[in-house]
Amino acid sequence: MTISIQPQDNSPKESLQPKGWMTYFSFSLDHKVIGLQYLVCGFIFYLIGGLLASAMRIELTSPISDFMPRDVYNQVLTLHGTIMIFLWIVPVVNGGFGNYLIPFYVGARDMAFPRLNAVAFWMIPPSGLLLISSYFINGAAQSGWTAYPPLSITTPAAGQIIWIISVLLLGGSSIFGGINFIATILKLRRPGLKLMNLPMYCWAMLGTSILVVLSTPVLAGTLVLLSFDIVAHTGFFNPALGGNVVVYQHLFWFYSHPAVYIMVLPAFGLVSEIIPVHSRKPLFGYTTMVYSILAIVVLGFVVWAHHMFTSGTPPWMRLFFTIATSFIAVPTGIKFFNWVATLWGGKISINSAILFSCGFIINFVLGGITGVTLAQVPFDVHVHDTYYVVAHFHYIVYGGTVFVIFASIYHWYPKFTGRMLNENLGRFHFALTFIGFNLCFAPQHWLGLNGMPRRVAEYDPQFAFVNQISTVGALLMAISTLPFLWNIIQSAFVGEKSGDNPWNALTPEWLTSSPPPVENWLGEAPLITKPYGYGLKEESEKLVSEEDIDVNLTNQ
């Protein structure tokens, strides 16, 4: 295998790139800059998506449609779902942390295709702005993030077309990112580094990128057909012209079910990095972790029709998809047991990062269990398209992935900036978020079971009280963002200096300065074959000694 590391000389040299904070507004090719660009850009979209969510929750405090007109509610709903998925979760856990960490983990100085990488990032802000601008032009799309025809064909065309264009662009960006990750992980590894030595996040990203590359193009093709139906009056999905609406659903979910693992596998990878560091123990069951990721990738492709149990699919199909879906609980369960086993017997520092990671475990297990109930056809025919489903997936995407994103920011902030975040504010943030989150989404299970459908602006008055509780929770969540925002902004200037490796971690990104130099390592990249070697005698001694870690580990 050929190695890409350029000839080295260690004297510091001037960079040709824009300096200081301006870098972050430039077409930088540095994977660390791109990673942070993804993170910040995604977070801004999160605030917008959260603002929209708050607006929906305010509307839902009363059973009548009073806060905003009904069609605006549907636009807000569509924008909320689309922004949160395509502009927040997917770019951040893949593009953001992936770009920042993967080159370190494989011992490279950059991604395989830096230029493609920058292009992929710069596709995101314009498509996001395009999507949001549709609201001001002629009203945004109003058929939900699923855009089921014929509704999406009959609602105002302008908003829907803009929605399609921006989702296509975002999908393209995601495919470029996926290609880059696959090439980087498989081809750019430092010599001597075996696949089975890689930190778990690399495996998670490899699995995710395979999902991205195989499923996103199907969504792209489908949306192109949908746009033909809208613009050229073809009839692929238009029953009035002989089309078949259920085919759209199959194609859409063929992408969008894998997409949920695109949103959660990287998060699994990130917690696998965080938990060992803060509990000072090796990641438990590395090999089974790897195989369960691969199993989730494979199974992820054969479960899509569990979103369509009431769409008139034939009985055998429902049965097959019930079984296949349920089985995803097995590899996922293995990962959760492994994390608890990693904590078990460790010396756990209860800090913000570990609190958010454990919050993730609790929320995700609940969301996963409700997912398994949803997978049972007879159960699903009652709760499909109700708030029970809304509760299920917020437990997973918010309680799971977003919690992991917060945990990761607490964990890697010193890496990004060289400064610590304020720990007390972090715990306060955790407490508020955890309480607000559960207050908001736990009652929604009851709502769904009792007869409240989703995507409605007006509902049966008997549900008003529970909805108000939920809204209070949502507002708590909104408030909880403030200490966090304050923390990340002020710590960048006045935060305590962290030193290079505040957690005494063994994964490669910590074995260089914080923040890292442009070329990642001043010398050659260290060869880390045991990224989780906590408690193994040699590794821990090495860290205690004050010698230069890079040299030490390279020479071993």
Partner: protein, 274 residues
């Protein structure tokens, strides 16, 4: 495993199961059950709720315990034990979910079968003259309700449902009644053929625990037998436009007598009393 820790595990697991089962059996977040489907559904629900509670509480217990037990003492700067795997344990926690999943899968298959969900759609509703037997039916749960025999099939009350933005219309071919409200007699097997005029809607009666999309161009079928008299909401459960939230109707389940009165009053072609 030492005897002591085995005993301890046992002492913890038994109450966990007890609590989980108690939760499943005693906490009922569902609305009243008003169809033959609903009681079967609730059976499944209780089992899933119990299993889910046991798993969830067990997991949370394990996690909080380890967070407290193994938290770092301030003076301690060392590492934990370098345990990287443990084959028996890993087999155990692959096997437990597998068994649970297999059990749940088989059980819910059985429930689904009892709801009539597994019956071939080809035969659904063919005894009604209004349904062309060549027509392709796109499925739906309860196509052939519980306990339906050849005989009871023939006694089915057949209703045609049309959904449109933003209302349901119920057509009773027998009396040529068109109504915005669904009237059905208690204990009578109902068979509905549903089709939409514009976009996708969904017919949902929470008290019956049934839901089926109403799709344009692809008729679907839905069968059920109401068991309790009362008025229940019919809710459209598929986003169908701005007034989706307002697209509701009522199903009136009434005693045979009252139903006949209603039918008589609205019927355009009086039926001959049998």
């Amino acid at each position: 495993m030492s005897t002591r820790s085995a005993l301890l595990t046992f002492l913890l697991v038994v109450p966990l199961f007890a609590i989980g089962i108690w939760i499943g059996q005693n906490i009922n977040p569902l609305p009243i059950d008003a169809s033959t489907n609903a009681s079967v559904y609730d059976e499944l629900f209780r089992v899933l709720f119990s299993i889910g509670s046991i798993l969830f509480l067990g997991f949370v217990g394990l996690l909080t315990y380890s967070l407290f037990k193994f938290r770092r003492k301030p003076e301690d700067k060392g590492d934990g034990l370098a345990i990287e795997d443990n084959l028996p344990l890993e087999i155990l926690w692959t096997a437990i979910p597998t068994i649970v999943i297999l059990f749940v899968g088989l059980y819910s298959y059985d429930i689904y079968d009892r709801m009539g969900g597994m019956q071939s759609l080809e035969h659904a509703g063919h005894n009604h003259e209004s349904m062309v037997s060549k027509e392709r039916i796109w499925g739906g749960i309860g196509s052939g309700s519980i306990g339906s025999t050849k005989e009871s099939l023939n006694k089915e009350l057949f209703i045609e449902v049309t959904a449109m933005q933003f209302a349901f219309l119920f057509h009773y071919p027998k009396g040529d009644i068109i109504s915005g409200e669904l009237h059905v007699p208690v204990g009578q097997p109902i068979s509905m053929r549903m089709e939409s005029k514009d976009v996708i809607h969904a017919f949902w009666v929470p008290e019956f625990r049934i839901k089926q999309d109403v799709i344009p161009g692809q008729p679907t079928i839905l069968n059920f037998t109401p068991t309790k008299a009362g008025k229940y909401p019919i809710i459209c459960a598929e986003l169908c436009g701005p007034y989706h939230g307002g697209m509701r109707s009522t199903v009136v389940v009434e005693e045979q007598k009252e139903y006949e009165n209603w039918f008589e009053k609205n019927s355009k072609t009086p039926i001959t009393k049998t």
